[in-house]
């Protein structure tokens, strides 16, 4: 058999964005090839706490989150034939102080302005929803339609379904650069030779900037280190996704029973990880102290593992989802800044429409252009 080197669309990055978009394109009969440097879902896709959240999102990307929650997540397990463990248990964002309350109130105002069902509730009301939390919680924002899912089975579920529909995945191949032919994107140069397509989708997380640079496109994104801890399984306590205004931690109890709780030490920009997925000795203690402040009854629960990953952090904490004018044929989907998982099923619709129709017609992504960044004066 001759090795596949050309396709209608080449997707760079085998994360959830790449796998889900490959699935959507293949479903419409498009010939797709996905190139991945390491394993499927090795970046942020399998290294996040599984939030499917609309609250506390920037209104500019809220249409993606609201579309995904209303139209995709509830049926996704059936659609993929894999249990994505989606639970729509709501999202509480907790506050301990007056200042926290102000932060939450501002978010609630912004979100209700664009039609999201989210409101401020008192500490006692929050404890009625989730009786396990500390009396120190004085107030919270509550969004009943938020939830969480399993990022591992979701990412690999999209991958499996794409594979089933005829998509070819090549893993262990590093993209070195893109090359234009007659002004259009055409060649994807890798350490394993050249792959060719008329359309290229770049959704390689924090590797995207380096690759975009090779055709003269830049974006203000950088790698940002974050960690997560996982506890032993506990009896089912609550289905609510938890966030805190102070940013000490976020997470949920998974279907398996373990708590998956993420956070950072605040010093992560300066601790040495040498670009590896190692965990830092400062972080788990820091997250643990945060957990005890809000959920003191979890103090005797054992942590079984910790892991780390990198955000592709954009300067305005919003993704770039767009066709690149200067490089016809190139579509980008990166810069998700640590909250891409929950919107990924909707992003894949926008990306497939950008590729096939030239614009996103189902979901409004007009605020997420790649060329929105301006100097300060």
């Amino acid at each position: 058999m001759v090795e596949k080197r050309t396709a209608d669309v080449i997707i760079i990055g085998g994360g959830i964005m790449g796998c889900a978009t490959a699935y959507r394109l293949a479903k419409q009969g498009v010939d797709v090839l996905v190139l991945e440097k390491k394993e499927i879902g090795n970046g942020g896709s399998c290294r996040n706490a599984g939030g499917v959240r609309q609250s506390a999102r920037d209104p500019k990307e809220l249409p993606l989150a609201m579309y995904a929650v209303a139209n995709i997540w509830p049926q996704l397990s059936d659609e993929l034939g894999v249990d994505v463990e989606y639970h729509q248990g709501g999202n509480l964002r907790l506050g301990l102080t007056e200042k926290d309350q102000q932060v939450l109130t501002t978010y609630v105002k912004k979100s209700t302005d664009v039609g999201l069902d989210v409101k401020m509730i008192s500490g006692d009301e929050a404890r009625e929803l989730c009786p396990y939390m500390s009396k120190a919680v004085v107030g919270a924002s509550w969004c009943p339609t938020d939830g969480h899912a399993n990022p591992l089975t979701t990412t690999l579920g999209f991958y499996r379904k794409a594979l089933e529909l005829g998509v070819t995945f090549v893993t262990g191949v590093t993209v070195l650069k893109l090359q234009k032919v007659r002004g259009m994107v055409r060649k994807v140069v890798t350490d394993d030779g050249i792959y060719e397509a008329e359309n290229v989708l770049l959704c390689a997380g924090y590797e995207s900037r380096r690759i975009a640079n090779t055709v003269g496109i830049d974006a203000p994104i950088e790698k940002q280190f974050n960690e997560v801890l996982v506890t032993e399984a506990q009896p089912k306590m609550f289905d609510i996704m938890i966030g805190v205004a102070g940013g000490e931690f976020y997470g949920h109890q998974s279907e398996h029973g373990s708590f998956v709780l993420g956070g950072n030490s605040g010093l992560q920009a300066f601790t040495s990880h040498n670009d590896n997925f190692v965990t830092n000795s400062l972080t788990t203690p820091c997250i643990s102290r945060g957990i005890i402040k809000y959920f003191p009854m979890l103090k005797d629960v054992k942590i079984v593992r910790t892991w780390s990953g990198f955000y592709d952090q954009c300067i305005d904490v919003l993704p770039l989802i767009d066709n690149v004018k200067e490089v016809p044929g190139l579509t980008v989907g990166f810069g998700f800044s640590g909250h891409g998982f929950g919107i990924a099923p909707a992003v894949s619709i926008a990306l497939s429409e950008l590729i096939l129709k030239g614009k996103s017609t189902t979901i409004d992504i007009s605020q997420l252009t790649y060329d929105r960044f301006k100097t300060k004066s």
Partner: protein, 110 residues
Amino acid sequence: MIKVIRVAKIEPFIEKEDDGMIICRCEEITKGEIRRAVYEGMRTINEVKRYLRAGMGLCQGQTCQRLVQNIMAQELKTKPSELGMIQGRAPARPVEIDIFSNNITDVKEG
């Protein structure tokens, strides 16, 4: 990472007599589930771990890692060494949140 070209299998999945054997004891994952995950496209031990939870339990794969590798290698007709290792994770043994938090104040010196 070695290069792997992944396409869907054309031939159907064939069940085997010993598919019911439990391989990952912590998470109770069977040989049949691992074989099916490979059939469905999982090509590294970390992908199988993420897909099935094999190796995610209390022992963190210390018991089943080699067994999972061998089953995968047999299915894929490759060497176990080409499937990668489960990523090692701290802590080496489960530790309470309270101990991690450094909040314990009743430990005296001497």
